[in-house]
């Protein structure tokens, strides 16, 4: 069990994060002024289509982007428990990774090293951050495997990733991430590559572990269904910017931004079988050349004259905002 995380206290504060990529074709402004906060014991979801910058945001937190070509711009701030991470030394970042902040990824098969045993990989962070020896870390790995619901953990701990199913591998990833009792777990599309039934199991597992360990979760996904399952609050991203924030309830009941509405609209509904699926017309623009003014205007059914200038986030309440001039505060 982690030591008492004060629910509600700011754990991760991202402020005006701009992560740009310097490519031969120009500068891609993948994340272009993103701000949000993850508080203790809460689950924050970042939602958006592919290409909106959510994954880059999550990788920026842990500094996992290769510095050329990526560069976190001056003026960006990522504070973890009050400590500034942008510009922190590599040594400090390494001390945090896998320790205070852990991350799990989308493809469990390729995210695990195929030539090392599963137990070895789980125990690695333990040996690194907690100074355990081989035997102790292996024992702990067995315990963690039990915790994430893998049967016969004594056998599994000595197996290789290719011997496990997709769902089990993701459980292993989770075990690996939890091994040092992190304060914050970043989960980048953890269920996207899994079958629907397994998805549900993994989400349940995440939720229960989050509660038992008392940690915060930053969940990246494009799937609103997932958001509905596990998140407390939501940040909607589009074209490198935050376009709406709110609680899950607020977002689902009363979406303010046309993009959020579009996303919700395109969810297939059980109640309406046979109904034609609605999609948002057009595609995400090129980050090297974001459109002028509102970046969503080319796909927005409500586009109008006010969309020509760049939109600011309009505060609608506590932790509630939307980036659209049509929204009334």
């Amino acid at each position: 069990m982690s030591d008492a995380q004060t629910a509600g206290a700011s754990l991760l504060a991202v402020s005006d994060l701009r992560t740009w990529f310097h490519t031969d074709q120009g500068v891609a402004r993948a994340v272009d002024g993103v701000s949000f906060e993850v508080r203790g014991r809460e689950t924050l979801g970042i939602v958006g289509e592919s290409g909106c910058g959510k994954t880059v945001t999550s990788l920026s937190v842990l500094g996992l982007l290769p510095q050329p070509p990526a560069k976190i711009q001056e003026g960006s701030s990522i504070r973890f428990e009050g400590e500034e991470l942008v510009g922190a030394s590599t040594k400090r970042m390494r001390a945090l990774r896998g320790n205070e902040i852990s991350m799990i990824f989308q493809e469990p098969m390729s995210s695990l090293n195929p030539v090392y045993k599963v137990g070895d990989q789980i125990g690695e962070a333990l040996r690194l951050h907690r100074g355990m020896n081989k035997r102790a870390s292996r024992a702990e790995a067995v315990r963690l495997l039990t915790e994430v619901g893998i049967p016969e953990p004594d056998r599994r701990v000595d197996e290789y990733p290719h011997q496990l199913s997709g769902g089990m591998r993701q459980r292993v990833m989770i075990a690996m991430a939890l091994s040092c009792e992190p304060q914050l777990l970043i989960a980048d599309e953890p269920t996207t590559a899994l079958d629907v039934t397994i998805q549900a199991q993994i989400l349940e597992l995440l939720a229960s572990l989050r509660d038992s360990h008392g940690m915060a979760v930053l969940l990246i996904t494009h799937d609103l269904g997932v958001v509905a399952e596990v998140c407390d609050r939501v940040v909607v991203m589009y074209a490198g910017q935050v376009v709406e924030t709110g609680t899950v309830h607020e977002i689902f009941q009363d979406p303010q931004h046309p993009y959020t509405r579009g996303l919700l609209d395109s969810l297939p509904s059980v109640d309406d079988p046979g109904q034609r699926l609605r999609s948002i017309p057009g595609t995400v623009p090129n980050p090297i050349a974001w459109p002028h003014g509102c970046r969503f205007k080319d796909r927005c059914s409500l586009a109008g004259p006010g969309c020509e200038k760049p939109q600011d986030l309009v505060e609608l309440g506590v932790d509630r905002a939307a980036r659209c001039w049509r929204v009334e505060s």
């Binding site: 842990l62 996992l64 050329p68 970042m93 390494r94 001390a95 945090l96 990774r97 896998g98 320790n99 852990s102 991350m103 990824f105 493809e107 390729s110 995210s111 695990l112 090293n113 195929p114 030539v115 090392y116 690695e124 962070a125 690194l128 951050h129 290789y160 290719h162 990833m173 690996m176």
Partner: protein
């Protein structure tokens, strides 16, 4: 796994026999005949005939074939026409010389190739990567015999006569002429000194190829998701590269090792000629020119068998190194 090995070994037998047959007919049907080389004024036809009988060449080809195969299966590789000794003895004399040189060259080439390739991949696009690329391309394009001659000129001749360096290397041979009079330590040093130039001639060219291969492999591996996971766990760069990335990047290199194992036994005739190294390459080539059939056939057969064995070893190595591969 044992079953797999057994099956492979059993399958190798017809393969090797087939190779032996092809070798036999290729060699014996080629124009020219060892007795031709012994022709001199006054050597009569009868004498030539007698010689051909002595060499066993008077019998028809298919009978000779059967006899040869039969002898080989009992380990009798025949008698060398030019060395006046059993072929097996001749091979055993030359083989260790080749092994020493080839093993050194392969060791140096793989060691440095892997290290340099890794450095290049980890420091991609840096000045180190670019300059190494240039240097390695230079060595890769160079014919090994030319490199050998250049090394002799610089590290033997110029080093001693022109630059007056305290250390210079002998231009040829496996050991000095006063080898027997050296102490045990002196003998070792002498052997190593004689190994340096020929090893470098072979290794530098090989190394360049291996480095390129390794660089590519590493670059691919470094992009894999599990490398990112390793970083996300807070592991230092060193561990990520050498524990997580390297082991995966080495897998295709094993193919290379398998390809090069036969080279351990075949030697390289160019390098051996330039450095007066009495190895298998020179032995077999000389035997071909002299039409010393028993040596040529035994040498070719031995070498072909080594290739078959090397392939098996490479495949087995794969299974050892990559847990995903299991043979039934």
């Amino acid at each position: 796994m044992t079953q797999y090995v057994l099956r492979r070994l059993l399958g190798a037998i017809p393969l090797v026999l087939g190779i032996a047959t092809i070798i036999f007919f290729l060699v014996n049907l080629a124009p020219g005949d060892p007795t031709l080389l012994l022709l001199s004024p006054g050597v009569t036809d009868e004498v030539i005939q007698q010689m051909r009988e002595n060499f066993g060449l008077d019998q028809p080809v298919h009978i000779r074939y059967v006899k040869w195969i039969g002898a080989m299966l009992t380990g009798d590789f025949g008698y060398s026409f030019t060395h006046s000794r059993p072929v097996a003895d001749v091979l055993m004399d030359f083989l260790p010389n080749t092994l020493i040189l080839s093993a050194s060259a392969l060791l140096v080439a793989f060691l440095f190739g892997i290290v340099l390739g890794t450095i290049q991949a980890v420091r991609q696009y840096s000045a180190m990567d670019s300059s190494l690329s240039v240097v390695l391309l230079f060595f890769y394009s160079m014919p090994s015999f030319w490199l050998a001659l250049m090394l002799i000129l610089t590290m033997s001749l110029y080093a001693r006569n022109v630059w007056g360096l305290p250390i210079y290397f002998p231009a040829s041979g496996m050991m000095s002429t006063d080898y027997e009079f050296l102490s045990a330590g002196g003998k070792l040093v002498d052997r190593v000194k004689h190994l340096v130039l020929p090893t470098l001639s072979l290794a530098l060219v090989l190394m360049a190829g291996i480095a390129r291969y390794m660089r590519g492999s590493m670059l691919e591996v470094v992009r894999q998701d599990f490398v990112r996971t390793a970083h996300a766990k807070g592991l230092p760069e060193r561990t990520v590269v050498f524990k997580h990335a390297l082991r995966n990047a080495l897998l295709p290199i094993i193919t290379l090792v398998g390809l090069y194992i036969p080279f351990l036994f075949s030697g390289t005739v160019f390098i051996e000629t330039i450095f007066a190294w009495p190895g298998m390459g020179r032995l077999i080539v000389e035997a071909i020119f002299q039409r010393d059939y028993p040596v040529v056939m035994a040498g070719a057969f031995f070498f072909a068998t080594m290739v078959v064995v090397a392939n098996l070893v490479a495949d087995l190595l794969y299974a050892v190194v990559d847990p995903r591969i299991r043979y039934e």
